[in-house]
């Protein structure tokens, strides 16, 4: 999958989000920096509790109390040159932007759909709110068109959510998210609850729709191996922090953060000799009692003295021959600060430029 040329659509800078306030506040997202280019699929990978969903809700200002945004900025650039600061925007501005420009597909389609309304009613409701000029017949025709887009026949308009299979419900969610042709679609684990075959079908449809409609996707999942296949670039989160950012294939071939390396070796391969894998020792930290220094250091096999006291920042890495200038690499690890060459399994792959071009 090629990285499409585009302009920055969403720019997240130093975003922080907490749950609760005062000394007991849990810092769920700390200093997140992300750029979503127009038309790209940006993957956000992390385990449960890593803050990936909180980040998505913070970006869209959908975070509910006790969650709150405590710092940073989120710039939305619908066209090059025009900017909207989502964090300081008025509710009215957000009302216009949400769904028509930035839409969200929630994880659990069963809970996100209203069980007492038919699919058609829910689809036309969106149109009635945002496209008041459409007639009733036109709304219904558009709703049928949206269902057709995700491979559901129009006679399903009068079905209720419980009459649909899990895969179809998720398709309806995607159709709803695309109803107003947004530029950004945020997907929070959209296929996690589905079977592998259904998951794959929906992902393929989604990628075809993206080709056709040109929206950008922020795709949140814990399944890094899936993300490498479908995303253009990937950001990896751990305990509320972004620890690595890279183009998808570059991340797979040459991870630069020990956590990414550990995650990648947590997925058994489908080919080749069976190798003994170790995963990552220990378990993700409790956000209320974070370790000092680098939050990953208690589980890291490369831990140095410095890691226990100083937290590394997410710093851009020198473009050491990965040949992907459009997606700058960054990692938050003292091994990559340039003072010493990193271990070979965390170094830039010298042949990457050749294989990517």
């Amino acid at each position: 999958m090629s990285v499409p040329a585009g302009h920055p659509l969403l720019e997240v800078r130093g975003l922080c989000a907490d749950y609760g306030a005062g000394p007991d506040a849990v810092h769920a997202v700390i200093g997140a920096d992300l750029v979503l280019q127009s038309g790209e699929v940006l993957g956000l990978a992390g385990e449960s509790g890593s803050g990936k969903s909180t980040l998505a809700y913070a970006i869209t200002r959908l975070l509910r109390a006790p969650g709150m945004i405590t710092g940073g900025s989120v710039g939305y650039y619908p066209r090059p040159g025009t900017a909207v600061d989502l964090l300081s925007a008025e509710e009215g501005t957000l009302r216009v932007l949400r769904w028509s420009q930035i839409s969200v597909v929630m994880q659990s389609a069963m809970n996100a759909l209203n069980p007492v309304l038919s699919i058609g009613a829910q689809l036309t409701d969106v149109l009635r709110a945002h496209r008041p000029d459409l007639s009733k017949a036109a709304r219904r025709a558009r709703a049928a068109g949206l269902l057709a887009m995700v491979g559901i026949t129009a006679d399903r308009l009068d079905s209720h959510p419980h009459e649909l299979s899990g895969g179809m419900r998720q398709r309806v969610m995607i159709a709803m998210a695309l109803a107003l042709e947004p530029q950004v679609v945020i997907m929070d684990e959209p296929t996690t609850a589905l079977d592998v075959v259904t998951q794959r079908e929906i992902l393929q449809e989604l990628m075809e729709l993206r080709e056709r409609l040109g929206f950008a996707v922020l795709f949140i999942t814990h399944d890094l191996s899936l993300l490498i296949e479908i995303a253009d670039s990937i950001a990896v989160m751990y305990a509320g922090r972004l620890v690595e950012r890279a183009a998808a294939k570059a991340l797979f071939r040459a991870p630069r953060h020990p956590y990414t390396l550990g995650l990648l070796s947590s997925f058994p391969a489908l080919h080749g000799p069976r190798r003994h894998l170790t995963g990552i020792p220990g378990s993700p930290p409790d956000l209320r009692r974070l370790p000092s220094g680098c939050v990953f250091h208690p589980r890291c096999s490369y831990v140095m003295d410095r890691c226990r006291t100083d937290a590394p920042a997410l710093l851009p890495l020198a473009a050491t021959g990965d040949g992907l200038s459009s997606v700058p690499r960054a990692a938050a690890c003292w091994l990559q600060d340039g003072s010493a060459p990193p271990p070979p399994e965390l170094a830039a792959a010298p042949d990457l430029a050749g294989s990517q071009s």
Partner: protein, 391 residues
């Protein structure tokens, strides 16, 4: 990184610890009261089964042997009957037909016999958050099975026995965990306690139903490796139920692929994943995430599993199968032996089909255009446990 052993040294001639022969489970869907609302679009065919009741054909004629020191993986989607199979194997539910043999002997029906069976065949459930009792400490969870089964050793204190159990699942030091409540443990630690509880009664068979799917990615491998260790060190026969064929390839010696309640392919793990014979296994493999793949996979045979109330005649996969032939729509394929131990229930493996039988199935619509065939979808949620008679 070390190469894993490829074939466990168990001789094929030894008696399996647990063997299932022709295991079948039909769930009766009771009553039109609920049935009418829940099953809106059933044709008259579904009504055919006895006294107007509907029958869910959850597991159909499954034979399986669990050998000592081997991991057998059962792979399938939700609704394929893999969890029902596990519940049949540990006798939580009664089979409609078929028999279970423990070390070659039929399972006794007496109370004592049942208890002995329960001791030898233990289960580990998917969700350690709900399979441990939140009001009891770890110590209680591990002490109870020892007391219930009378396995307290005279010379050894209960605490020593429990500490030994925790050590076997790599929860050390044990005294740090004894007094903890489930909510004080991480997901991985909880699942280890659940495994230790199963090990407490010194079972010979461990039935693990999706033991890692609720856990975080980075700790799944720890549990899989623990199961592998238990196989190697304690010679347990392990049934590993999963929807993730890559993890089955990693852990298991044998893979059994289930589709719509039937076994469609079984064989040595690497043979099944590297040279899949059945079109459904091929579909599962092409849908599995694979970072090495370039471009989207083919997904031949996409679609949804059939209704188990009115399963398709012939091969249950034929409405979706890209290679469906005339014979597939009329008669169920027998198990064809590909190679030693590698079996596939697919007419493509038959060598003596007539031209008429082998002709492509014309009546089959283009299955690729309708993503979810819902005309017969009776379980919208696609839940694993279709068990209306147990409520």
């Amino acid at each position: 990184m070390t190469q894993l052993h490829e074939a466990a040294p168990t001789p094929a001639t030894s008696t399996p610890v647990l063997e299932a022969r022709g295991l079948t489970k039909h769930f009766t869907v009771h009553g039109a009261r609920r049935g009418r609302a829940a099953l809106p679009r059933l044709g008259r065919r579904g009504q055919a089964a006895g006294r107007g009741g509907l029958v869910v054909h959850a597991v159909e004629d499954v034979s399986l042997a669990l050998d000592e020191a081997r991991v057998t993986a059962v792979v399938g989607e939700s609704g394929s009957g893999k969890s029902t199979l596990a519940r049949l194997l540990c006798r939580l539910i009664k089979p409609t037909a078929g028999e279970l043999l423990l070390s070659g002997d039929p399972v006794p029906r007496s109370g004592r016999g049942r208890r002995e069976y329960a001791r030898q065949v233990q289960m580990v459930l998917q969700d350690p958050f709900s399979s441990l009792n939140p009001v009891h400490e770890v110590r209680y969870h591990l002490a109870r099975p020892l007391q219930v089964h009378g396995l307290e050793e005279p010379g050894r204190s209960l605490d020593d026995a429990i500490a030994g159990l925790l050590e076997r699942v790599a929860l050390a030091p044990a005294d740090q965990f004894l007094r903890k409540y489930p909510h004080e443990l991480s997901g991985g630690q909880r699942q280890r306690v659940a495994i230790a509880r199963a090990l407490a009664v010194r079972p010979r068979v461990l039935l693990a139903d999706e033991p890692v799917s609720m856990l975080d990615v980075s700790i799944r491998l720890g549990i899989l490796n623990l199961l592998g260790d238990l196989r190697d060190r304690e010679r347990l026969a392990i049934l590993y139920i999963t929807h993730d064929i890559a993890s089955a390839r990693y852990l298991a010696d044998t893979i059994v692929v289930m589709y719509a309640g039937q076994v469609v392919e079984s064989g040595p793990a690497r043979t099944v994943t590297d040279q899949p014979a059945h079109p459904y296994t091929q579909l599962l493999l092409s849908a599995a995430p694979d970072p090495e793949r370039d471009g989207p996979p083919a997904l031949d045979g996409r679609g949804a599993p059939p209704s188990l109330v009115t399963p398709p005649p012939g091969c249950r996969f034929h409405p979706r199968c890209p290679h469906a032939m005339a014979v597939c729509a009329t008669s169920a394929p027998p198990a064809f032996e590909e190679a030693a131990g590698h079996v596939s229930a697919c007419w493509l493996q038959a060598r003596d089909l007539t031209a008429a039988q082998a002709s492509p199935l014309a009546s089959r619509g283009d299955g690729n255009t309708s993503p979810d065939d819902t005309s017969s979808n009776d379980e919208p949620g696609g839940g694993d446990d279709v068990s209306p008679d147990t409520r």
